[in-house]
C-alpha cells in the first residue's frame, strides 16, 4: 500500500496556495505510506541556460555554500543555492551530466534528486507529516505537484527509494502498486545504456517511460508501450513541466480518485484527502478507468 497525490491549479489566484492546499492531502495519506514521503512541485521555468537541481545530503548540517563556491571554480558557473535542511535547491547554468559527474568525483554523498527548469523535488524517509514540515510543503507555490507516501513492499526503505522517481529533466513518477517484471524492464533499458540509482520497481517504470519519450514518443505513446512491456499492479501519476498524467493497470486494483473543478484537478488514492478542498462538493468526482490515459495540461 502507498498513497499518491497530485494537484494542478488552473487559476493564477490559487497558485500561491499550492502548498497550503496540498499539505492536508499529504497528511491524510500518511496512513497509506508511513515509511517515506516525497513531493515534486512544478513552478515557472528558469530561463535557459539555467537549470534547477534538487540536491540531497545525508547530513543535516551540510555546508552547501562551500559546495556552491567549489562549483564556481570547477564548473565555471554562478550557482544560487537555497537550503532546506538536508536538501538544497541549486540554480546554475550547468547541465545535469557534468554536475552529477562532478558530485560523484567530490565523493561527499550529495545526490541529484531532480533536474530540469521547472521541477523542485523533496523526499526522504520518515513519517510523511514530519517530512512535509521539515521541507515546509505548506509554503510551496506553483502550478502543479505530484506526491507520494510510501509503504515499502519490494525494496528497501532509504531516501533514494522514496518516491517521486525522476529521469531526464522535468519528469517524475509516483507509483502505488508493485510490478512483476521490473528486472526485464531494467535489462531492456540497460542495453540502451541507461543507469539506475536503485533496485526499485517504480524507478524502472519511470526510466522506461522517459526513455520512450527520448525516442520520440508522446506520453500517451510511451504509456501504450508500457501497457505491453510493464506487467504488474499500478496506479502511476506522472509530472512533467506542463502536465500531470494518471493511469491505472488493466485490472485497476490500486485506487485513485479524481476531483475536478474550474479551479483545479486533484488526484489522490482516497477521497478523504480531497475532502478539504474548496468547492469539492460541486466537483466532478470520478475514478479513472483501467488502461485509460488521463492527461491534464497547464493552461497557457
Amino acid at each position: 500500500m502507498c498513497g499518491i497525490i497530485g494537484l494542478m491549479l488552473k487559476s493564477d489566484e490559487l497558485r500561491p496556495s499550492l502548498g497550503k492546499l496540498v499539505l492536508p492531502m499529504f497528511d491524510s495519506m500518511a496512513e497509506r505510506g508511513p515509511d517515506s514521503a516525497g513531493l515534486a512541485v512544478f513552478t515557472a521555468p528558469v530561463e535557459p541556460p539555467l537549470r534547477r537541481f534538487s540536491l540531497f545530503s545525508n547530513s543535516h548540517d551540510y555546508d552547501w555554500s562551500a559546495l556552491a563556491q567549489s562549483m564556481k571554480t570547477d564548473l565555471e558557473c554562478q550557482p544560487t543555492v537555497s537550503v532546506h535542511d538536508n536538501q538544497a535547491e541549486l540554480t546554475a547554468a550547468v547541465e545535469g551530466g557534468p554536475l552529477k559527474r562532478w558530485l560523484a568525483k567530490r565523493g561527499n554523498g550529495v545526490r541529484v534528486l531532480a533536474a530540469g527548469r521547472s521541477i523542485e523535488l523533496f523526499k526522504d524517509v520518515g513519517r510523511p507529516d514530519q517530512v512535509a514540515r521539515r521541507y515546509h510543503f505548506d509554503q510551496l507555490q506553483g502550478t502543479h505537484c505530484v506526491g507520494h507516501t510510501r509503504m515499502a513492499t519490494e525494496s528497501q526503505v532509504s531516501p533514494a527509494h522514496a518516491h517521486p522517481f525522476t529521469a531526464g529533466e522535468d519528469f517524475c513518477l509516483v507509483h502505488n502498486g508493485s510490478l512483476s517484471n521490473p528486472y526485464s524492464v531494467r535489462r531492456l533499458l540497460e542495453e540502451e545504456n541507461l543507469e539506475f540509482e536503485t533496485d526499485n520497481d517504480s524507478e524502472a517504470a519511470c526510466r522506461f517511460l522517459q526513455w520512450r519519450m527520448t525516442q520520440g514518443d508522446t506520453i500517451e505513446q510511451a504509456l501504450a508501450s508500457a501497457f505491453e512491456k510493464i506487467d504488474g499492479f499500478y496506479t502511476f501519476l506522472i509530472g512533467t513541466a506542463r502536465q500531470i498524467v494518471l493511469v491505472r493497470d488493466a485490472f485497476a486494483c490500486k485506487p485513485a480518485v479524481v476531483a475536478e473543478t474550474d479551479q483545479y484537478v486533484a488526484i489522490s488514492s482516497e477521497f478523504r484527502s480531497l475532502a478539504h478542498l474548496p468547492g469539492v462538493a460541486e466537483a466532478n468526482i470520478f475514478e479513472p478507468l483501467p488502461e485509460q490515459i488521463y492527461v491534464w495540461q497547464v493552461a497557457a
Binding site: F251, A252, P255, V257, A275
Partner: protein, 229 residues
C-alpha cells in the same frame, strides 16, 4: 425512542462505532444522523440493531460493512467495499460507489443510486444489489447467490466464474466473463426485477433487462478441454 446526532468533526470513527455497537438498545435510539463523514473509513460498520442511520456526506472504505438489521443511507459517494459482507438490513447510497460494493454480501439489500466502479457484487452470497446507474469491470465475479440488478451498463468481464447468482442488466454489457451467459428473460425474471426495483425505490421505465447467469461449464474439470498456459 430518540434521534441522535453524531459529528465526526468532534468524534473519532472508533468512538462513533463504539456508540453504535453498545448504546443503541439501552438508549432506545431509533434514528442516528452522522455529520461530517469527509470520506473517513469504517463508518457504521458492524451494526446489529434495527436503527435508521443517515450519513450526511461522502464516506470512505467499508461504510456499513457487515450490516445487520439497520437501514443505512449515505447522502454522498462511498469508497471501496460499501456494505461488505452485509447480513441483513438495507444500505443505500445516494451517490456513486467505488470498487467491491456489497462484496460477499449474504442477505439484505444494497442500493446504489448512482454508478458503481469495478467488482460490484464480487463473491456475493445471497444479498440483493440494485444499481441505478452503471457498474464497472469484473462485476459479479464468482457471485454465488442473490441478485444483482443494474439499470445502466455493465463493464468488461461481467459475471466471470459465476455460480448461482443472477445478474440483470438494463443497458449494454461490454463483455461477459468466463462461463457467464445471457439467457432469455422469463415471466418470473421480469416479476423479480420489478419487485426488486420497487423494493429499492428505483424508478426505471426500461422493460428490456437482460438476464446473465452461469453456464455451469466450470463446475467440473474437463480433462479433455484444450488448455493453453
Amino acid at each position: 425512542m430518540k434521534t441522535v446526532q453524531l459529528d465526526l468533526s468532534k468524534l473519532s470513527v472508533r468512538q462513533l462505532n463504539d456508540y453504535l455497537h453498545h448504546r443503541l438498545a439501552s438508549e432506545s435510539v431509533r434514528e442516528i444522523e452522522i455529520l461530517n463523514p469527509n470520506g473517513m473509513h469504517n463508518i457504521a460498520v458492524g451494526l446489529d440493531y434495527p436503527v435508521e442511520v443517515h450519513i450526511r456526506g461522502n464516506a470512505g472504505y467499508f461504510v456499513a460493512g457487515m450490516n445487520q438489521q439497520a437501514a443505512v443511507t449515505v447522502y454522498g459517494n462511498v469508497g471501496w467495499s460499501v456494505a461488505e459482507n452485509i447480513m441483513s438490513g438495507v444500505v443505500r447510497v445516494r451517490g456513486n460507489a467505488s470498487e467491491c460494493a456489497a462484496a460477499s454480501g449474504h442477505d439484505g439489500m444494497v442500493v446504489i443510486e448512482g454508478d458503481c466502479s469495478s467488482r460490484c457484487g464480487i463473491s456475493m452470497k445471497g444479498c440483493d444489489i440494485v444499481v441505478g446507474g452503471s457498474i464497472g469491470h469484473m462485476s459479479g465475479f464468482m457471485a454465488q447467490a442473490g441478485n444483482l440488478v443494474v439499470c445502466g451498463d455493465a463493464g468488461a468481464h461481467l459475471g466471470d466464474s459465476l455460480y448461482e447468482a443472477q445478474i440483470y442488466v438494463g443497458g449494454k454489457i461490454h463483455s461477459l466473463g468466463a462461463d457467464a451467459q445471457e439467457e432469455p428473460m422469463t415471466e418470473a425474471d421480469h416479476a423479480k426485477v420489478a419487485a426488486l426495483l420497487k423494493r429499492a425505490e428505483v424508478d426505471i421505465s426500461s422493460k428490456n433487462f437482460k438476464r446473465v447467469a452461469s453456464g455451469r461449464t466450470l463446475y467440473h474439470w474437463n480433462a479433455e478441454a484444450h488448455q493453453e498456459y
